[in-house]
């Protein structure tokens, strides 16, 4: 299958060309094409031109989940997306389509930015069987690289990750209930209503808001969903940040077992929703019964979760769990992300494994002026361990650094004064506006308030200019506005006239 994007007048479509080796599942195809609006799925239609066959998904006015989750993510946004994904999965099963036919990739999940409505892409092909592990892994991977809004209480993230890490096979209804509970904690419903884009001549307090979105950039063909889970088990129970009673798991009782669909094929989703030994046995029996068999696709070898720390994503993310209620308001949320990640690591309530990002090694670095109230926050938490500290034999500990050792570290050395700047965030900002940069240059007027950003992607470091007045240069060449260039050790970066040498190790 080949994917591409197509625009027709006001509509946008994701077009999948069906190739000779793709095996179409006629039942799924029927289900998907005959039902024009299935909740949670992108509407599709089948077309044929000469001997080329296509399936077109209507994704008008939508952005990819990847784009939706860019930048700082709020609780509302994430919970919204998760409940949208679950709703889509529920629909798939309801229509007796194999859950494995859904593309679990944030580049192929579409969200309406205004309404929050989520659409999954369900392929009408014979697919490989759905594995709960894959789903958990996909969710974990997606959540773990996000930057969360630290103005909010980020407990919910810890609860989500705990839940995803917790069981061997998660129950989708439990997960859905968890999300509902988390949404209700702030009294907000997951999906928000659309806002109109035009307002005129107001009286007292009026506001107008809206978003206009162009066409998302053409995606590459989706890689087969990663089978390796970012596995981790917390090595010790760490009490949650707030004094809430029950832990995240099992926050809602499981739905009661209902009717038993004897003849029809039992979907995995059904089993998860109505778990009982009988159902499980039936499902397993059907799995082995040739009458219910699907064509097996290539199997992926998966690493078993065994408590050892393996994280394949090399990207860092903010560690939630800091209560910001008593910090100064009115300061932009980005500013609140404190520099010393070691502190946040110590404060992390649960799933200590995943929350590795702040290696204790990379403790407090560079000229970060915004210590503010963050130092007091670690006092709120009970017993926590600092990552990277080995305890005596007999106790399970977390590997130091904690993530894939192939991660390189990047340091900028300022020529003016030999100052060392460690790039310790996935999106590292440089400029002279204290409240929204990670490295503040205060003694050079030629630097803009937001001058440049260094982004980490898959272990590499990329420099880009953020509309600075006096520009950003790499090895003497000026960067243009949307350009991202990869950094290598020995490069020389200039922010206006301020030069820095790049050191990349690892």
């Amino acid at each position: 299958m080949i994917f591409r994007l197509e625009n027709q007048e006001l509509n946008s479509y994701l077009v999948c060309e069906i190739e000779a080796h793709d095996q179409v599942d006629p039942v799924s195809m029927q289900m998907l094409t005959n039902n024009s609006k299935i909740t949670g799925l992108a509407p599709l239609l089948f077309t044929q031109m000469d001997d080329k066959k296509y399936v077109k998904y209507n994704i008008s006015s939508k952005i990819t989940a990847e784009m939706y989750l860019q930048g700082v993510v709020t609780r509302k946004k994430l919970l919204n997306l998760l409940s949208g994904i679950l709703a889509g999965m529920a629909s798939v099963d309801e229509y007796m389509i194999d859950l494995g036919a859904v593309i679990l990739d944030p580049r192929y999940i579409f969200v309406d930015n205004k309404t929050g409505e989520t659409n999954l892409i369900c392929l009408p092909f014979v697919s490989r069987p759905f594995e709960s592990d894959d789903f958990q892994g996909f969710l974990r991977d997606m959540i773990s690289i996000l930057q969360f809004n630290t103005d909010e209480n980020c407990d919910y993230v810890a609860k989500l990750l705990t839940y995803l890490n917790g069981a061997d096979q998660i129950s989708l209804s439990d997960f859905k209930n968890l999300i509902i509970t988390l949404s209700n904690e702030t009294g907000e419903a997951p999906v928000r209503a659309a806002a109109p884009a035009r307002k005129e001549v107001p009286a007292a307090k009026v506001s107008g808001t809206g978003v206009i979105v162009g066409v998302p950039s053409t995606p590459k063909a989706p890689e087969a969903s990663k089978a390796q889970p970012a596995a981790s088990r917390p090595s010790r129970e760490v009490p949650p940040a707030k004094s809430e009673a029950a832990p995240a798991q099992g926050s809602a009782p499981q739905a009661a077992v209902s009717s038993d669909p004897s003849e029809k094929k039992i979907g995995l989703f059904y089993v998860l929703m109505h778990y009982s030994k009988d159902n499980m046995a039936k499902y397993k029996a059907q799995k082995n019964d040739p009458a219910f068999q699907k064509q097996p696709k290539e199997k992926k070898v998966k690493e078993k979760k065994n408590g050892s720390m393996k994280k394949n994503s090399t990207e860092l993310f903010d560690i939630p769990g800091v209560d910001r209620a008593d910090t100064i308001t009115g300061i932009s949320s980005e500013a609140e992300i404190p520099a010393p990640r070691a502190e946040k690591a110590a404060a992390a309530p649960v799933s200590g494994g995943n929350v590795v990002a702040a290696s204790a090694n990379k403790a407090v670095q560079n000229a970060q002026p915004k210590q503010e109230a963050s130092t007091s926050s670690s006092a709120n938490f009970g017993e926590t361990t600092v990552l990277g500290v080995y305890s005596s034999a007999g106790e399970t500990t977390v590997l130091s650094g904690g993530y894939n050792n192939a991660v390189k570290s990047c340091v900028l050395v300022r020529r003016k004064n030999r100052e060392r700047v460690v790039i310790n965030k996935p999106s590292f900002r440089i400029g002279k506006e204290r409240s929204c940069v990670d490295y503040f240059i205060g003694d050079n007027a030629a630097i803009s308030r937001s001058h440049s950003t260094i982004n980490q992607k898959q272990g590499d470091y990329y420099l880009s200019d953020t509309n600075s007045t006096n520009h950003t240069y790499l090895n003497g060449r000026m960067l243009i506005s949307s350009e991202e260039v990869k950094l290598a050790s020995g490069d020389v970066i200039a922010f206006a006239d301020d030069e820095f040498d790049v050191e990349i190790t690892g």
């Binding site: 005129e200 007292a204 506001s207 978003v211």
Partner: protein, 255 residues
């Protein structure tokens, strides 16, 4: 080009009416998405300021609805904008003046409007409402047409003195109350990941440029909700600092 758009207005602490008027229109055109935003700050006792500002906003909106497409088809140029908008300003200056003398009153309005396309922005300005470009830095794109800013230009006042001078709100010209009106036009290249902001003077007397940047820079919000929150914070701050006038801010982020 994609846009995140939000706007807020507040009657302020002491006024009986809100004489600021604004409008934002977004269109899909043959040259991509375009946004037309306009802000007018009316003046004149009772509700006359409201009439003046609303009238000019409505007139420009009619132009946008009816003429803009044609202009784009022929090829949008600085000259065509100067002609159309200049014509409107002259026409409404006369109309509002006539209305005023009919009623025996004096009324007028400022005007700041911006047309954003994929590549260029086109701005018209009369009075002391402002247009800002907030990207890597914060830049005020328009020049205030006030008495004190002229004094500053002539070297007779420093900018700091101008801010606290009692005549700081005295305009050199405004639509409806001047003999003739000569608008300022500003044209430039649209930046990606930048915020174009229009505001009335009530929004920017009591807060600093740093504070504006902190809340409205393209890196300080990710969606309309956050943008609106940030704008509200700035409005509230103005009121805490006893700003008395109506306060309006319109923000458009390109991405």
């Amino acid at each position: 080009m994609n846009y995140l758009i939000s706007a807020l207005t507040d009657i302020g602490l002491t006024k009986d009416t809100n004489q600021d008027a604004y409008s934002i229109r977004a269109y899909k055109s043959s040259i991509g998405s375009v946004v037309f935003a306009i802000l007018c700050d009316g003046m004149g006792g009772l509700s006359r300021g409201e009439v003046a500002s609303a009238t000019v906003v409505a007139a420009f909106n009619r132009w946008a609805d009816n003429e803009l497409a044609g202009l784009i088809k022929k090829g949008l140029t600085e000259n065509s904008i100067r002609n159309d908008w200049g014509r409107l300003v002259t026409e409404y200056n006369q109309k509002i003046k006539a209305y005023g003398s009919q009623c025996g009153v004096s009324l007028g309005t400022t005007l700041t409007a911006i047309l954003l396309t994929d590549s260029r922005y086109y701005i018209i300005n009369v009075g002391d409402t402002r247009a800002y470009e907030i990207a890597g830095d914060l830049a005020v794109l328009t020049k205030d047409q006030t008495l004190v800013s002229r004094e500053v230009e002539l070297g007779r006042l420093t900018p700091e003195q101008a801010e606290t001078d009692p005549r700081r709100s005295v305009l050199l010209q405004c639509i409806g109350a001047s003999e003739t009106v000569v608008p300022e036009f500003v044209f430039g290249d649209v930046k990606l990941n930048a915020v174009y902001m229009l505001c009335s003077d009530g929004f920017r007397h009591e807060i600093t440029e740093d504070e504006i940047y902190e809340k409205l820079s393209p890196y300080s919000f990710n969606d309309v909700d956050q943008l609106r929150q940030n704008m509200q914070i700035l409005i509230d701050r103005n009121k805490e600092r006893q700003e008395r006038d109506n306060i309006t801010v319109v923000s458009i982020k390109t991405f």
